[in-house]
Symmetry: C2
Subunit: 303 residues, 2 copies
Amino acid sequence: MSQPKHLTGDKAGIEEFLSRFDVFLFDCDGVLWSGDFLFPNVAETLEMLRSKGKQLVFVTNNSTKSRADYKKKFDKMGIPANTEEVFGSSYSAAVYIARILKLPGPKNKVFVLGETGIEQELDAEGVSYIGGTDPAFRRDIEPEDFTNLANGSALDPDVGIVLSGLDFHVNYLKLATAFQYLQRGAVFLATNTDSTLPMAHSLFPGAGSSGAGLVKAIGKEALSLGKPSQAMMDAVEGKFQFDRSRTCMVGDRLNTDIQFGIEGKLGGTLAVLTGVSKKEEFLAEGAPTVPMAYVDTLGDLLG
Amino acid sequence: MSQPKHLTGDKAGIEEFLSRFDVFLFDCDGVLWSGDFLFPNVAETLEMLRSKGKQLVFVTNNSTKSRADYKKKFDKMGIPANTEEVFGSSYSAAVYIARILKLPGPKNKVFVLGETGIEQELDAEGVSYIGGTDPAFRRDIEPEDFTNLANGSALDPDVGIVLSGLDFHVNYLKLATAFQYLQRGAVFLATNTDSTLPMAHSLFPGAGSSGAGLVKAIGKEALSLGKPSQAMMDAVEGKFQFDRSRTCMVGDRLNTDIQFGIEGKLGGTLAVLTGVSKKEEFLAEGAPTVPMAYVDTLGDLLG
């Protein structure tokens, strides 16, 4: 595989690169911002792309936020965007459950491990669920819980799916409950399986980390509805009807964003160095995942 | 490998099998009891072995209990045993940290993910620690925690080890804190890595499950001080000075107990069918881990 092109400072190279694509799929955390820190010239760069007639889609694995939450985040950050341009892993999971998996009722309820973003998107797709942010599950496990989970009296017989996402309120009671549903045959889904979450210029445990306990206990991986799973690409394409050869994925993580674009046979991939992956990882001999091009920061595309 | 011998109901077979060994290492959960349910004839079986002059050692991966806690459990269950016969994974970890790892001070403090059993054994070995059952860590993560963990102001500079065990009070704050220590180079240890915990005639997430989030986030396994890690076998042997060829490991889990005995080159291994592993798993063609013999329940050794 040829070396990726470094576009920072290369005005002609940038112009040529941008001309190849009509659609840009953007990762958000680590690309547009890190936590509440907006990277320089992001709004101007997106504006430049829009002015050239490019379609922008914000494809994010962050399952704690719904599309509506994300719109608020864009507003707060001063980045023009509309809700329809946002495609999050929670939405992807809700679409998968409601429109593709379509388990027959009544055993089609979801047990949610995660935050309100998942609940909002399930609501939007008319999927019923328990768990999630319900205060009844935000407590320590008690001795009687072991008995009632084991004999099933504390379980909802209608649960047929466990959906695991990033959960800032993970606890043993929720893990044990989800594990019981999985042992009883529930379908095991994950919004995404990112090992880490970039926050405050550092890394914190990601959705893959908060779901790893369940994976370990049940001994199998969840079907992921986030990057780099192509289930998510299919859903994005289904909604936006783009030409893959004229589409570019922009992201900071080789093993999620760039992998997602390569496996999806997109026309191009662009790495930014403001997030998780370092350029040494893709410039190294025999690197498993190599972007088509890279910039130090997204704002470098302004030239 | 030859088929394991089924000893249940085989009086002569049992006598011959027992005569080969001077020392029996017992797993506890799933062998002697399941949760608070004592399997039939356990006390009588252990008494029979003692009357034949056998040394008994209770080698348990349950890190939530100290040896003293385990002694209480034996008393409650009506099984004669003394504290010195108990060798738990928390004790194993404390011994490893204090006597083998011996990090130079002051950066040799332990951040504990787990219950009081770990703390008691660290205390017994004079190892200083934070985390564990400290109520300061039993709360939700707040926005300022991300900042203070990322910039290190919420971290203890003397922590050089993260020790992960079964934690019924696992939460995101503790995982994020441990992950920060690991990113700063702390040694990553686990009391044990059992995926599940047998309780109330069912399975619940085990120590390997509550620690899996950290493994996923940091991208490497912890060094385990529980079965089947031979670090634990070395510690047991160091204490009890037994002849491995005259020692038999008795357990319910192929991938921990039986593996532990086989890798430790013990004279024999005996599986019981009252716990996690089913006989179909070791009777199958090409089974990876096969015990020397098995009984349906431990009490079958009474003949």
